[in-house]
Amino acid sequence: MPRPVHWSRRGRDAIRARLSGRGQQSEMLESLLAFGGLVLLRDSIEWEGRDFLKALIKQSALCGEQIHVLGCEISEEEFREGFDSNINSRVVYHDLFRDPLNWSKNEAFPRGPLEALRAMCRPTDLRPVTIALDSLSWLLLHFPCSTVCQTLHALCRQGDSSPVERVNVLGLLHEELHAAGPLGALSSLAQIEVTLDGTMGRTSAHILYRKPRHRPAHQVDPTAHLTFNLRLSKKERETRDSLTLPFQFSSEKQQALLCSEPSQASSHIFYEPDAYDDLDPEDPDDDLDI
């Protein structure tokens, strides 16, 4: 039975959550998209990440965002498979797959795909934007790693300058194609890193949250979606406050004890206990006043 996973907002800086199964899928996806910034999806040949990417795209379409997809590895028809019509209407597909080297000289990417990426994010409307990169590995193979990192950083930063909208950049990265260098560099840029793994036919996702610089745009409420009730209604709060606790003194005795604190007792008892004395200065029956 999958346990509910709690995400802390401040305090813990990087936590790892392992989820398997589809139990809390939508709330998990929602929390991945709450922060903005770069979400890095690392997959491998055994555990493919494109379905996860498409699930994230569906989730952000449901939240009303506009999604730009830079497709490099599969054709547009194959990518749009499985999306229903209202999701398809929100997805804008930029096709690099059919003509990656621009032999047909069309004007889709006049100054290269990186420049097109930067242009994608100069928005005309105020809706939050999601950019899905399928895949980052393709970009890393064609452009130097530092240039790709700088472009991604510029994309994520667009969301900072205007606080109304939030830019999510979802990047799919095939781990096996790259050495430790580019993987480490992209990890350090990412706000959230999801690594897909699995055992015996079940895929699991390891999610690593780096410390978010700001609070998430919409707070994920951990007391929602639980099987037990953690909230207090107003009436319940009042009854709880008016409850008399055991061993609670009446207010007269409290005041008497408080006011007598400053004045010390006039007589002292000096007593030296010998070796066999078991002195317990507290007599538990002494100060009961119920």
Partner: protein, 384 residues
């Protein structure tokens, strides 16, 4: 500048010799009177700049790094004219904090700041600096609680811990009234009035260079070149390199560079093991150290050393800096569950301490240092 300061401290009063030339008196040596206003009297004397103090060991002029615990480990503070390199921890949690402490200390001491970053805008970094714990603000807080203390009936009644009701609310925390090394409260931001009085220059890389339209791998040093030119320009503008001798009030320039060597600076050191321009980072540090040595400035650079692929570059970077401190946080590592480390947040490694005008350096014998970050205090403790 560092050597001149040493000279000034140790020599005593050579200025009096110069003064005696003008006056006719019985002896050619004159006792130098107490420096009341210090207006006249030429000759080198100890530069008395706010926020600095001479080292008790070798007379170097020191500035505080913002962390009194780290100052103690470095032999009193960071020497003016040197570069402090911080090797970032894996998830970059604690190194931005040290960076912010350094800058906040500069603002509180009245130094000029130069903030360079490729990741965040310098204005944004300055907005997030921690608030200093100063004497007067602490007392103001205490007075407010003192009024509550006089009327216990009207104050908030405690239900369970009522015996503590009459005790005054005191915040137990470190407060430093000294002018060297302050404590900061990381849960509060620096007050705006303090920021407005601060003098700072910012360098944000995406604003200074246009995005590369044609992708050429040899433009690696482009960002670094711009930064070096900017630092040189500010150093001469502020006069910290002694280019305006008529300027009486001297000030220290604090240079903070964040995440040098990361791919956001256009450097491939973190991406590939054998990159085309593998010397750009080392060249930058060499020129930077030259600029800093010849001026009254102190520099703090953070480098993501765990990402640098070529270990030879890491070794060169270490030897090209003066002081090197490495941070290792326990987050996400197997040391997190080690019972020895359960009270601490990470380890600090002092990798190198410079020998300035000395034959030996001030290395402490203790090698295991662990740090703990509390809200108002960053402690470094030894001997696990």
């Amino acid at each position: 500048m560092a050597a001149a300061a040493t000279c000034g401290a140790g020599a005593g009063s050579p200025g009096s010799v110069a003064a005696a030339v003008d006056r006719s008196s019985a002896t050619s040596f004159q006792r130098k009177g107490p420096r009341a206003g210090g207006a006249d009297g030429g000759g080198p004397r100890l530069v008395s700049i706010a926020g600095t103090r001479p080292s008790v060991r070798n007379g170097q002029l020191l500035v505080s790094t913002g962390l009194p615990a780290l100052d103690q480990l470095l032999g009193g503070g960071l020497a003016v004219g040197t570069v402090l390199l911080i090797e970032e921890d894996k998830y970059n949690i604690y190194s931005p904090l040290l960076f912010k402490y350094f800058l906040a200390e500069g603002i509180v001491s009245g130094h000029t700041l130069l903030v360079a970053s490729a990741r965040e805008h310098p204005a944004g970094i300055l907005q997030e600096l921690p608030a200093p714990l100063l004497d007067d603000s602490y007392e103001k807080e205490f007075d407010e609680d003192g009024c509550n203390h006089k009327t216990p009936d009207s104050s908030m009644k405690m239900k369970i811990a009522w015996r503590y009701q009459l005790l005054p609310k005191m915040e137990a925390g470190p407060v430093s009234s000294s002018r060297f090394g302050h404590y900061y409260d990381t849960s509060k931001k620096i007050p705006q009035e303090l920021l407005r009085t601060a003098k700072w220059h910012g360098f944000f890389l995406p604003e200074r260079i246009s995005p590369p339209l044609t992708v050429e791998p040899c433009h690696l040093t482009h960002g670094y070149m711009k930064l070096l030119e900017f630092i040189k320009k500010i150093v001469s503008e502020e006069g910290v390199d002694g280019s305006h001798p008529q300027k009486k009030t001297k000030n220290i320039l604090r240079i903070g560079i964040q995440s040098l060597g990361s791919p956001l600076w256009g450097d491939d050191a973190c991406c590939a093991e054998a990159c085309d321009d593998s010397h750009s980072l080392t060249k930058f540090l060499y020129v930077l150290r030259g600029l800093v040595r010849a001026s009254l400035s102190a520099c703090l650079v953070t480098v993501p050393a765990h990402l640098i692929q070529n270990k030879a570059i890491t070794a060169r970077v270490t030897s090209l800096s003066d002081t090197v401190v490495g941070l290792e946080s326990f987050v996400g590592s197997e040391r997190e569950t080690n019972p020895l480390y359960k009270d601490y947040h990470g380890l600090i490694h002092i990798r190198q301490i410079p020998r300035l005008n000395n034959l030996i350096c001030d290395e402490s014998d203790v090698k295991d240092l662990a740090f703990k970050l509390k809200r108002k205090l960053f402690t470094i403790e030894t001997g696990l």
